[in-house]
Symmetry: D2
Subunit: 301 residues, 4 copies
């Protein structure tokens, strides 16, 4: 009945990196939150307090900044893969690396009908994300890329029904043929390989999800999510599976009858908690094995 | 040396109201957080626990929903004024009302190159705000409208210097002729009267501030704020004064010299805390008296 | 109709200072968030971008750390006063200084029935605060100290009624003779002078407020707050006035009648928003003039 | 290459339940945030929008409140197990249930040296948690209970070293034999079975972790975590494994040498981001299979 060290990893979380490209007077900017994590043969650090295999998290942070300057950043997926490979090549005890990057979007400030060269305003249509896992190197290198978007808040004022549901002794909910449907979507998709134009794929997948959310006549949030995921897989052969986590942000029709007022779907109370939470995934039958691609990603079944 | 009740007010905070206009299949939406507050002759409630003068905060919440349905919402300034006047006409003990409204912006989801009729995505370019104070009614009615924007995050990658500052024994900061300037602006302006096209004024004032932030070559955040405020007052005679509260969101150039790497203004560390906090106001000499217009608004000198 | 600079101030916000006293093996710790702010003759910085009168906020941050080491910290009120006087003596253009400090409390970790010498656990019974304003120096020096506590969350399961209130056309609330009363109190009191044992006064005032909250049979949150404030002023002649801001954190009795279940004050739904917000102050008739003591402190009438 | 529904679950998240026990005038309170989730044969809802198998999340919320009244709450582990079994017995399509409960702690307000009967103050020493998964029923019923604590913020001012670590080209960190060690611990342990006195086990495991944190002379956060976990497993045979996620909340010694000041471990800057993030688990060799016990729990390797 021995007691021993189980799975473990360590790294630097939430390195706030802003990378400016000043090749021309029309600057570009990538604004990232980078988290790095290593796993492998780090037993000595845990059991004996011996750090000789441990690259400090401070050095991991320095690496993020140094590689951003030396090699540039590009798409967050490429930068994450580059970081992971670098750590696996540098730290002998590391067998795997997990890099998570959030990208915060900026738009150019409009001046005289044109985006300004070097002045930006933060855009709020969601945060782009990626979680990259690399195990091993050379011929044994195994790679997983899970990209996504979070904090994408969408709402439709009609085109959403909810009825015909299972009822038990504690069911009081009224059926409805017209309600507000709203969610703050977290959506993550796993790429089948790494030969992808990441920026282009991201833009297309997000646009597709927005369009499908708008167009699907909804009989439940489950069905809307499934339809969104299905379209992504149909149009993006490079995507092996997609997972969505969607709080059902309830908008309750306010009962104004005590005041002799009708409320024909016009006045709603937007509730904070509790909220429905719907999690669904859509997959290809022939998707490659996920391995540890989804490990430690919160909020998904 | 008597002890007595001092200033007091009470109300319902953060009523989350979503008002849908379905006059045509192309719906409109206003998504508001409304806080109401009454002040006046409420001593009995405090000193004796006698509620006979106190309209419950629950009734205030109901009123927000009921008036939104019965009378519509329109610009947040108009809705706030309407609520304030309603409470002062309804509650005999109320001598003043303070209504604060935040508006959360939605954009239509683009589908086939056109905004969808009833599907929206949350936009993140700041939150529109208003704080309305009304005292009394009829001939003695006194009104103050302070509108603004908050969470407007802007950044410029160049065109910002900081040097020639006062130095004391604890000064170690290096002077710079090129730095990133970034802030999450809170800006509030007081209208001189209420004969204003609120939506139009808001759009113009925000656009003007963004443009000025972009165009002013900055020698300090103070100077940028002053220039932004000055332009607003020059172009908007209906604005009596403007106050801005601007955290200087520091972006520190990372020292990569230990790694034999140059960093010509390309790699920055975005710090959370501490941050500089610059608060400035620009006023007209002939502005009407502010009275209690700014009362209880945090973060302003 | 000239346009000109209005009130302004600037400084460093949220400097996270941890000061350890290691005079004996039994260490002490003060964990502070310090914000400094200067006001005065800073027009040149705003209007012309001329920084020659401006001590950088970076130097203000350095000063917080340096004085903490050189002179020690002590009670947050003393440290704030010391910082304010230092800045006014150092920066010729500064006419006033505002220092705000939050103190985060730690308790010793119990080991073998005794608090450990150098290991601590964060305690959650509220955050101690102070806002100190100093104008001028020497004979003209004017000082205001407003101390307080925030995030002090309290609840009573009975001993709270609410009835006999004013009713209008939008009132639907039922009267009750037994409800949960809960709030997350922000309480701030202004000291009449600075000859105070700050730590002792703080402990006593907080204990008194807790006790009164527990003991007062409540007919409204207003009456509870007034009673709490009254006791503080009666027992603390050094306190000139006290202001309290108290969200009424609603706990709604869940209607279980659809399930043929009684609910005799046992099962409640704790709501987030909206909430009642009650703000009240208790003052002495002979309190000295507050001047700018309350300036920029949010959430108070 | 068919596209199909993958793993999915749905439920009601963050039901804020406060349960008062008023059997005697000395009331007791349990303040919980409950999230319920069902998984099973819900394909029709996703693929066809057919809700006939779906118990609404609103009914799940009602169930939380109704069972809290009808059957009482008790330890959060018991309440979670009771809810899970109830849903699996009630909803034919459900094959598994996941119930997550957070418990927020209250202490009695001290009055005259004794805890008050019905007045409480929120305590801040962490949030107690449990995640219960039940699959199937009767002979095939499989149960996993993972309990824990989060937001347990601890700090030691000495007794922590960090040196002898692996160095690469990007390493600049200085070795130290005395530093502040601080973390906001999330700790979760999996019980080997369900015949446990949950409240007693929780108190003991938390106390043990605090003690070990205090007593272990640390050569790295990894080693401290391992020692804490090891003690828990040695003293609690009912625990099969424990996982800890610990941000290394850096406290940097401020360099005061530019001001000719020594800083002998007294003045620190508490940084927000980035932070080290150490995740470690300690397991028994003969622990029963975890199955889906850890599924969807964020922040663990």
């Amino acid at each position: 009945m021995a007691i021993r060290l189980g799975p473990n990893q360590y790294g630097k979380a939430e390195v706030r990196l802003v990378r400016v490209s000043r090749a021309t007077p029309r600057h570009d900017i990538r604004d990232l939150t980078v988290s790095t994590s290593l796993r492998g043969r780090f037993d000595a650090a845990h059991v004996r307090g011996d750090q000789s295999d441990v690259l400090p998290t401070d050095s991991q942070k320095n690496t993020v900044f140094a590689l951003a300057e030396r090699d540039g950043v590009g798409a967050i997926e490429d930068f994450a893969l580059h970081l992971a490979d670098h750590f696996l090549a540098t730290v002998p005890a590391a067998e795997g690396a997990r890099i998570e990057i959030d990208e915060h979007t900026w738009e150019r400030i409009p001046v005289d009908g044109r985006g300004h060269d070097h002045s930006f305003v933060r855009s709020g249509r969601g945060v782009r994300t990626t979680v990259v896992n690399v195990d091993g190197s050379g011929a044994d290198r195994e790679v997983h890329v899970v990209s996504g978007i979070k904090e994408l808040t969408v709402l439709k004022t009609t085109g959403s029904e909810f009825h015909g549901f299972f009822k038990d002794q504690f069911t009081t909910l009224q059926e409805t043929e017209d309600r507000i449907l709203a969610t703050s979507l977290v959506s993550r998709w796993r790429y089948a390989d790494t030969k992808v134009d990441w920026d282009k794929a991201y833009d297309s997948i997000v646009a597709l999800q927005l369009e499908r959310f708008a167009e699907i006549h909804s009989y439940a949030l489950q069905q809307t999510l499934y339809g969104m995921g299905q379209s992504v897989l149909e149009n993006h052969p490079e995507v092996a599976e997609i997972k969505m986590s969607a709080p059902n942000k309830h908008h309750f029709l306010v009962d104004l009858s005590p005041f002799d007022l009708d409320n024909p779907g016009e006045v709603f109370y937007a509730a904070d908690r509790p909220y429905g939470l719907i999690e669904a995934s859509v997959v290809r039958d022939d998707a490659p094995d996920p391995g540890n691609a989804w490990h430690g990603i919160p909020g998904f079944c």
